[in-house]
Symmetry: C2
Subunit: 554 residues, 2 copies
Amino acid sequence: MAQDKLKLIPLGGLGEFGMNCMALRWQDDILVIDAGLMFPEEELLGVDIVVPDISYLTENRDKVRGIVLTHGHEDHIGGLPWILSELNVPVYGTEFTLAFVEGKLEEHNLLDDAELNEIIPGHRLTLGPFSIMPIRVTHSLVDCVALAIHTPVGVVLHTGDFKVDLSPTDGQPFDLQAFAELGKQGVLALLQDSTNVDRRGYTPSEKAVRPRLNEIFGQTKKKLFFSCFSSSIHRIRLAMELAAEHGRKIAIIGRSLDNSTEIAQDLGYLEPAPGLLIHPGQIKDFPPEKLCIMISGTQGEPMSALSRAAVNNHKFARIDAGDTVLMSSRVIPGNEKSIYRVIDHLERRDATVIYDDGTAGLIHVSGHGSQEELRLMINLVRPKFFVPIHGDYRHLKRHVELASSMGLVEKAILMEDGEVLELDRNSATKTGNVTVGRVCIDSGGAASDVVEDLVIRDRRHLSEDGIVLPIIAINKGTGRLENLPEIVMRGMAVPEEGLIAEARQVVQRTLDGSSNEEKADYGVVKEKIRTDLKRFIQKSMSRRPLIMPVILEI
Amino acid sequence: MAQDKLKLIPLGGLGEFGMNCMALRWQDDILVIDAGLMFPEEELLGVDIVVPDISYLTENRDKVRGIVLTHGHEDHIGGLPWILSELNVPVYGTEFTLAFVEGKLEEHNLLDDAELNEIIPGHRLTLGPFSIMPIRVTHSLVDCVALAIHTPVGVVLHTGDFKVDLSPTDGQPFDLQAFAELGKQGVLALLQDSTNVDRRGYTPSEKAVRPRLNEIFGQTKKKLFFSCFSSSIHRIRLAMELAAEHGRKIAIIGRSLDNSTEIAQDLGYLEPAPGLLIHPGQIKDFPPEKLCIMISGTQGEPMSALSRAAVNNHKFARIDAGDTVLMSSRVIPGNEKSIYRVIDHLERRDATVIYDDGTAGLIHVSGHGSQEELRLMINLVRPKFFVPIHGDYRHLKRHVELASSMGLVEKAILMEDGEVLELDRNSATKTGNVTVGRVCIDSGGAASDVVEDLVIRDRRHLSEDGIVLPIIAINKGTGRLENLPEIVMRGMAVPEEGLIAEARQVVQRTLDGSSNEEKADYGVVKEKIRTDLKRFIQKSMSRRPLIMPVILEI
């Protein structure tokens, strides 16, 4: 009888990287694990973020008991503002994760109405028929957990994101014993992170980058710009330790980095030596060899502090000849062109740029476990059923093969978003599909420094706010415009001619106010135009259309 | 006196990868080396190819003595149709290079008017004051040369693209002795390929992939799909040898692969065993384990044979469960998403996909020399002056550092497109700039199978033919259109309402005629819409606007 079955329903993250979201249903109770976002593919111009379609949850809104978060990365919590605005249910997460969530909800004016509850590794939480035990795991972020969900038919173990880091910088050990204990007692299903299923061996510890970073701190003669993912708390901690050892002050530049380091300091994950941190405005008061500037923008994001500094357009971060810029991160596929553009700008300023080009030494490690760590956990847990999570189709497929080949799992099942897996003590069967999909959100310039009062909205009905295409023809040689910008509008009431003329002037002014270096960098130009035009249209027409600048190089 | 100076003027390829073009001027004589194209950055939607602005050459058209080609890759010859249509000068290249050029010019109806002259390694060619000695080098393509250009002030040595492959599959050895001999006699300036300046050590020989490819041929139980760059003649030769050894017939699928293998067979670079090749229509007559299907589309190009086969939309290339698809190439940065989309489609068909993911073994080698090969040549040649060519700014900069650090070069000079370097026997000085830039060309669907009578044109004046933006809103869940496609036109006489309605129907029909798998792949959808709409507009309005499909996922 289907009534006695546990349903496992992935709503996002199985078939793509990002927007992780998983529902578990037992009769009339639904538990949601994670609520992530995804950054859009290049085909989706003009869209800032993508979140999972949660129709299945809203259609069953009286049954949803809450959302439990495994950790604070965007692909696990970034969809919360949108989801909570549709479905305000309690949210559960560790202290650090909730601190990130709070900031995010506050930005969207959703914090007052949200119910946030802290969970603590090793302490059970009961939600309807689900009894949930958070288990400490290690990852590139801190305070991350796996979730052992005790259900009427057995334990479902969701790993969240993890690697087996045996020397985490925060001294919080991976709770391997808890996994072993669960394995001995019997686990019905293991849902395991597939991100690095293609990598052989073990992923190095976060501490493994220390020797090479230490060398770089030692060799740098002038200013050291240190860029990493703003959530890489372990990495930031190492950088702070090394700066102190090498007698450099630290200035932090960039909103996301500011925010994450503040949270991490509040919660004791970062403990900078007294006097180590200086305000960016004080940079000019110190000799270059006494400075380490932590700066956001490691993926070449067009409006990030590093991108702006690279074209000499940042108030505090001036990059001079002889400075070193260390990008302690990986080059995420799809971002190469933006990143290499920034690097070229930096090289033109005669800075030494150290990035993950295969020759830089160990300046970055992944936060996800490689094949041996996946096998290690499967061996400890020995689940009856196995479901890979977090990955494109090919990762899920390889992960099924990896798990099956170990001979410890009764059945490994390749699931994709929207499929329903019904489980009881003895069987796991796919029985149908629910509605899933991607919802595109235009957040008003995520990279902008201005925190706007964002209206989170579904773009399901294009006709609602329409689409605006500013078309700009730039002469590559001179950097000048060939004509006044064209503005094409669709799906919105045709505005008066005067307004279009004004909009053209707005774009023209944005271009006039940009340096030649900026104008040569179309990513930057597009983002600036998008931000300025959005503000203008919102003010003058009270509309929030999708804005997709088109640049023609001539 | 400037009259006695040799001028070196890069018109493309110094500050970007692609569109390589270099001018040498002595008084009233100009020699051009290579005439390449570049594939556009993603910002340049709707543009097929990019070629260098040759204003400098057209302004001095009576002085241009000819274009000498180093080899037949697109980034060295692909700009020829456009350049020759502006400036019909004699072209010089080796036999194989000219065979590629002929096909290209014929496609554009330019062959009859072109003057093509064969050069032979070791045989001098004189053009005005320049006496040019082609020297055999090795690369991923065959019949490649460096050019030693004897000028009144000394020898300028242009390497073309090269690696030092000591066991080329065609048995044509790299002429190291010629470089050594030139070095002993004295070289004024060495212009060296910077592509792999970031890579340590030596690049492996083209033959180095044989053991791993042999393993794959041996392990594959059903059909083997073998995909590589269509110009990788060495790789194709290896595949043909292995297919013969393993008792598999070869079918060749894809226009570019067809074309290059035909040329290579004609000129003796490929010598398939009698009976080895079958027509694609015969695939069905052989058991899967007796087949090797060479298929183009290794970069996930949306309309390529492999992309179409991956969504089961190719007449002859059907991919079944258990087949193996080997992508014997690298993942070119920027192409990840297209490539991974194709791989995901292939995995869904339960094919085994082997690609360059770091775990596949040595299935591909680069065609460009690594650091030790660059040093080896600098040591042999010991030029007075050194100029890196072919690369982004950061590559050129590192290459200058590499050359300078050897202590064998008097001066290494970082030049960018448009800069003028004046050389005499004792000095090299930058003295000014000429007009350079990028010209965007819309060739009518490069990936299309239909060879159209292409009009090569400059897009300098957008107003000439305008721009068309088909806007399509696809429901991700259902794959259906939300509304009829919108068509926005700009910069062209407004067509009658009926014509726009027809255009919308054209787009609608294209979508109706696409499978769900195709519709889920926006790269494919866009390319199909672009091709069909272009044909319609050309027929009905005799216009060739830029067509940039915009897909909104909702």
